[in-house]
Amino acid sequence: MATQQSKAAARLMIAPAVFVLLVWMLVPLCMTLYFSFADYRPMRGVFETWIGFSNYESFVTSSSFLRAVGTTLWMVTGILSITIIGGVLFALLLDQPMFGQGIVRILVIAPFFVMPTVSALVWKNMFFNVDNGLFSYLYKFLGLQPFDFLSQAPLFSIIVIVAWQWLPFATLILLTAVQSLSSEQLEAAEMDGAPGIKRFWYIILPHLSRAITVVILIQTIFLLSIFAEIFVTTNGAFGTRTLTYLVYQRVLESQNIGLGSAGGIIAVILANIIAIFLMRIVGKNLDN
């Protein structure tokens, strides 16, 4: 029953949001694109506007690029595996009858609300520190040699920190999905004598598959731009330099804007490939 007038009004109401987002997306992105084809190193006073694809070439062929892509893949895969497996188990656990369910839920989701710099520093100093960290005391207590996590296993340490932050997210979303599972179906399977593993594998897991996909896609998009956790722990040293961090270092630390911008565009393209899949799922859901 929308009239012509209300349609015009609607357009006017949407306009500001569309306009600011359009500017936000286009202006900086076009600038990055422009710089990515330029030799721009402000510290040395170099600025040459068009040098073709040579920034892309040197960015992609440098050994640090391949290592950064490898590090990013390890990090994202590691965090995803921990959070998805842990999240499914926690979601199923929280769905069981128990006392104080609400409190346990609160305990489990709390890490998600801790700001990244705090969680990274707390883990770095109070758990991983080789002299005074809790893990060192634990190792000593067990009669083992204390282990310097952040220099011996830096990638693993960061994976632990970030997985701790994102486990609540996966748990919460998967719990929502678990709770929407019809209990009749499960009860019928139980009556038929299907053992727990089979019920999990043939009924629960298929039911969760969509939620798991969504968690994987959303987390991947956020995890690709992990920054603060690396910034305050290793600062990109010891093989923890992800693609995001490499671009940050090229742009702000070594001030090679052209090279860094080419890296930035590559990061944008990679993120978009994942975003397309996520958009499809969201778009489909919008229709029903």
Binding site: M98, V122, F227
Partner: protein, 276 residues
């Protein structure tokens, strides 16, 4: 008999869930405990859990001696400011998309979400350059605008899903009674939309408070919020655990409390309605 077994099962699940829950929560609990210790007790070997002289000295030290109060003020202004600005821009847009949907509404919504997927690092240098050029580097205004922009898609999306749940018949009835667009919004829609708007505000404050890419890279001192302030603790080693803990607890406590209230909205806001 069956009842007794289910009770035993329930106790077993309770024990398991509580131990695992406490394990996940432990780093926060440990930070909380450490924040009340003296620096010497904080690194005592073996570690002390509860039996120590509790002191609030760290809190007063952090509050008095450092830039903490400024960082806290900045965090509040930036989180609240970006949220208000975002709501002001998003409410009309979400309202229009929910109640006067056009052919392209879905595309606009999806496009807005897609801007959220843009990796920040891809536009890092232009933003630094523009900020310097406009003379707003290290200012609260810059962060308010940037954080508003990165969270705007989530705000629009959340509001849209809430508004869509408001039955359209009520609006039509109001229109039949001759209500103008203005009174329709003011007296019919607003009261029904307020809970949704409130949850959106809550989630957005949480997201803005914890944002740790732009807040670290676009500030130095004047506009540095808590994320940046805490990051400055990364250099020193040694006797500072208790103070770090006190600063951390103060930085996360308000958000932790707000977060506990917004568990459900979190799912809605961060999955864009893809999981219900």
């Amino acid at each position: 008999m069956a009842r007794a077994i289910s009770r035993r099962k329930k106790i077993m699940w309770t024990a398991l869930a509580w131990s695992l829950g406490l394990l996940i929560f432990f780093p926060i609990l440990w930070t909380f405990l450490t924040s009340f210790k003296s620096e010497a007790t904080a690194i005592a070997d073996p570690p002390v859990f509860f039996m120590f002289d509790w002191t609030t000295e760290n809190y007063t030290t952090v509050l008095e001696r450092s830039n903490y109060p400024l960082a806290l003020t900045n965090s509040i202004i930036i989180a609240v400011g970006s949220t208000i600005l975002g709501i002001v821009i998003a409410v009309p847009a979400a309202w229009a998309m929910a109640f006067v949907p056009g052919k392209r509404t879905k595309d606009v919504l999806l496009w807005m979400l897609s801007t959220k997927m843009l990796p920040a690092v891809g536009v890092l240098y232009p933003l630094v350059l523009l900020a310097k050029w406009l003379g707003v580097m290290d200012s609260r205004l810059l962060l308010i605008v940037v954080l508003m922009l990165i969270n705007l898609p989530i705000i629009v999306w959340m509001l849209y899903t809430y508004f869509r749940e408001i039955p359209g018949e009520i609006l039509e009835a109001a229109r039949m009674d001759g209500a103008s667009l203005k009174s329709e919004i003011l007296y019919v829609l607003t009261p029904m939309a307020l809970p949704g708007i409130a949850s959106t505000i809550l989630l957005n404050i949480i997201l803005a408070w914890n944002e740790a890419f732009w807040t670290i890279l676009l500030t130095t001192v004047d506009a540095a919020p808590l994320t940046k302030f805490i990051a400055s603790f990364s250099a020193p080693e040694g006797l500072f655990y208790a103070k770090l803990s006190a600063a951390s607890i103060m930085a996360i406590a308000p958000i932790l409390i707000m977060g506990w209230f917004s568990q459900k909205q979190l799912v809605r806001g961060l999955t864009f309605g893809a999981v219900k």
